[in-house]
């Protein structure tokens, strides 16, 4: 369907998609130059929810920035917790107890499940399928209840501490997690795959749409499911294992096609892999403390450090520059969706409006993370 678009300059019109639009899931604005229903040029306009988190980091102590981390990618907040903790722990040389590492992995993966479920729901909503939203929210709700029990919040978690986690997990959480995984496993093949994935309308709608080639993905710095849908076998958890991820047996789903269906399948397979990681972590969960002794005011030695984690959307990097003081001298947040979205303009060129929105949905955008 992607024939070259031929149009005269005076036959195009500008369509402002957003910042208030049902398909942009937040306040993203895309300035589209359209020729009828074909997109001639697409330019995302960012910054509608920009809050300058990097400046806030410089203004407070290391610990004071912790709650901010959850306000960026609010769908996978624990991964942001984790990324920031890793950066600071690397700078200050803090050792994390093993039990805390396991709890971190369990909660981050649970959070990844909620993120992927929500993406699935929202993606189907973009495509006009309403009912899956409620099914996914049903499952997501169960996980949120579990996380609320130990972290104290449901969305913007501030659960990790330097050198561990805030709270130990209990038996109710453990049995609850096993139960949730069992329930999700039983629902995945029928409710998610039979009803939606194998649906002929959905397949025809997203197969071959929004093809992002391997080379394009690299040049735009795409990571996460977007890169893996383009045949790039890259997952920070495997390529650069942090925490205790190297101890678990899981696979990184990679699809070669590079279309929206490939990205869809990557995320659906990741749900399964995340459940495998959680189960293994719960089985192996060691005893011990959940928090190392860490001074209240951290003063890491001067230097600069990088720490990456894999969020539900890709490679989240923190570049932390310390000058020996009690505040971060500079904290750079490399958010995955920022790079992932930057390819939108090139790929969307010549697409139909509805296809471009299906493509945008498959990128899994979280706008506060892009704008930071």
């Amino acid at each position: 369907m992607n024939e070259p678009v031929q149009c005269r300059a005076d036959e195009t019109f500008v369509l402002n998609l957003g910042p208030q639009h049902p398909a942009t899931h937040g306040v993203l604005r895309v300035k589209l130059t359209m020729d009828g229903e074909y997109i001639v040029n697409a330019e995302p306009v960012l910054g509608y929810i920009h809050r300058m988190h990097e400046k806030m980091a410089e203004d407070g102590t290391f610990a004071q920035f912790m709650p901010n981390t959850a306000r960026m990618d609010y769908l996978h907040a624990l991964a942001y917790n984790h990324g920031y903790c890793l950066a600071v722990e690397r700078a200050a040389g803090i050792e994390v107890p093993e039990r805390a590492e396991y709890i971190r992995v369990i909660t981050v993966e649970l959070n990844r499940l909620t993120s992927h479920l929500l993406w699935w729901a929202a993606f189907l909503l973009d495509l006009g399928g309403f009912s899956p939203l409620l099914y996914a929210f049903d499952d997501r709700e169960q996980i949120l209840d579990l996380l609320e029990r130990i972290t104290g919040s449901r969305l913007t978690y501030c659960y990790f501490r330097f050198g561990g986690v805030y709270n130990d997990i209990d038996d109710v959480f453990i049995t609850g997690t096993y139960a949730v995984i069992k329930r999700l496993r039983s629902r995945l093949p029928r409710l998610y795959h039979d009803l939606v994935t194998h649906n002929i309308i959905l397949k025809k709608r997203i197969t071959g749409i929004g093809i992002l080639s391997r080379e394009q993905a690299r040049r735009y710095g795409c990571t996460g499911p977007v890169a893996r849908g383009s045949g790039i076998d890259y997952d920070v958890r495997k390529n650069e294992p942090y925490s205790v991820y190297s101890e678990f047996d899981f696979e990184v789903p990679v699809y070669e096609e590079g279309d929206s269906m490939a990205r869809y399948m990557v995320r659906m397979d990741e749900i399964e892999q995340s459940m495998r990681i959680i189960e293994q972590a719960l089985d192996k969960l060691p005893d011990g403390p959940v928090r190392a002794k860490v001074p209240k005011i951290l003063k890491p030695p001067a230097g600069d450090y990088w720490a990456s984690v894999e969020t539900a959307r890709g490679d989240l990097g923190h570049r932390l520059v310390c000058d020996g003081g009690k505040n971060p001298y500079k904290l750079k947040l490399r958010s995955p969706t920022f790079s992932n979205l930057s390819c939108f303009g090139e790929v969307a060129e010549g697409m139909l409006l509805a296809d471009a929105l299906a493509f945008m949905g498959s990128l899994d955008l979280v706008i506060p993370e892009i704008d930071r």
């Binding site: 049902p22 359209m34 009828g36 909503l125 006009g128 409620l134 025809k204 709608r205």
Partner: protein, 333 residues
């Protein structure tokens, strides 16, 4: 009595009440149905099981200010919602609900209904055009191309029926199918050849798909694809302008279901030779309407060019082949 002026007026009043009730309560059914499909309860607060919800919604819509945004074409903008309702209401007049329950027996009622349905699509076009909103404009363009594509297979299929029954009068078409489901056009085993028994179900499927597309229902709701076009031609409408569009949409669904019932499902005829009557007619149209609602809440939306491809590349060839085969069978047997 038959020639009296009162008969059409009384019937029209009755049908208008029926239409209003349907438009309001189909909305309620849709919400309840969707809720059940999604494991919710739907509206529960207003009245038992939320039964008075449509009244509350209607009151709310009517009491809202009729906003005419700046830069719209004032006349067309006002006319469009009315134009959405009128053809649907008028079509009601010629639909035979039972043997003698019909406001006006028109000889060419099939043709009349299709003519009126085309006028109804003008509402979407005018509403989209007059709104001065680019999303509405895209919606209007989509509606026209979609309507154009789907009226052709629909009409060709109707010609098949007309050839079989030899009349364009809806009442006579239904009357020809009386006496049990084996006489219905969908499986005309009795009186027709076996080959036609294969053709007609295909015609039925084509007609059903077309009527879903014609009434702009999911998965073919291209004109109001809310994740792409906000609400399409209805974006700029508030209060009763929006309300009329919604009512028009539901009424069109009812008309579509009525047509399918009359053309394929034997009209008011009871299955298995049970005595016929208006209750059978209503049962059939509500079964069809439920199917339409069910489909909407199960499937995601398709794409405009796939929709057009479906019509031009599959439905139209199939319906034409059906037409030719039917003609051949009539001539041969």
């Amino acid at each position: 009595m038959d020639t009296s002026i009162w008969r059409p007026i009384l019937y029209l009043l009755g049908f208008m009440a029926f239409a209003g009730l349907n438009a309001a309560y189909l909305g309620w059914c849709e919400r309840k149905g969707a809720a059940r499909i999604q494991r919710r309860t739907g509206p529960m607060e207003v009245g038992p099981q939320g039964l008075w919800q449509p009244l509350a919604d209607g009151l709310k819509l009517m009491s809202k200010q009729l906003l005419i945004p700046q830069g719209v074409d004032g006349i067309l903008f006002r006319v469009a919602p009315i134009l959405a309702m009128i053809p649907a209401l008028t079509s009601m007049a010629v639909i035979p609900f039972a043997g003698n329950v019909q406001a006006r027996a028109v000889g060419l009622s099939v043709l009349l209904i299709f003519a009126l349905a085309s006028v109804g699509m003008m509402a979407v076009l005018l509403g989209g055009w007059a709104s001065g909103n680019k999303y509405s404009l895209i919606s209007a363009a989509r509606a026209v191309s979609q309507n154009l594509a789907y009226e052709i297979p629909m009409l060709v299929t109707v010609i098949t029926i007309v050839m079989l029954t030899g009349t364009m009068n809806l009442e006579q078409i239904a009357a020809a199918q009386q006496g049990g489901f084996w006489n219905w056009n969908i499986f005309p085993v009795a009186g027709h050849s076996l080959a036609q028994a294969i053709i007609m179900p295909i015609s039925f499927v084509i007609f059903f798909i077309c009527s879903v597309a014609e009434t702009n229902r999911a998965p073919f709701d291209m004109a109001e694809a809310e994740s792409e076009l906000i609400a399409g031609h209805m974006t700029e409408y508030g209060s009763m302008g929006f309300g009329l569009f919604m009512m028009g949409e539901y009424l069109n669904m009812v008309i579509g279901a009525c047509l399918i019932t009359i053309l394929f499902l034997g009209g008011w005829d009871g299955p298995l030779g049970l005595s016929g009557g208006i209750w059978w007619f209503l049962a059939k149209i509500y079964l069809l309407l439920f199917t339409v609602i069910w489909v909407r809440w199960t499937y995601p939306r398709t794409q405009i060019y796939k929709l057009l491809n479906l019509s031009w590349k599959i439905l139209i060839p199939f319906s034409l082949v059906n037409l030719v085969l039917t003609a051949a069978f009539i001539k041969i047997f």
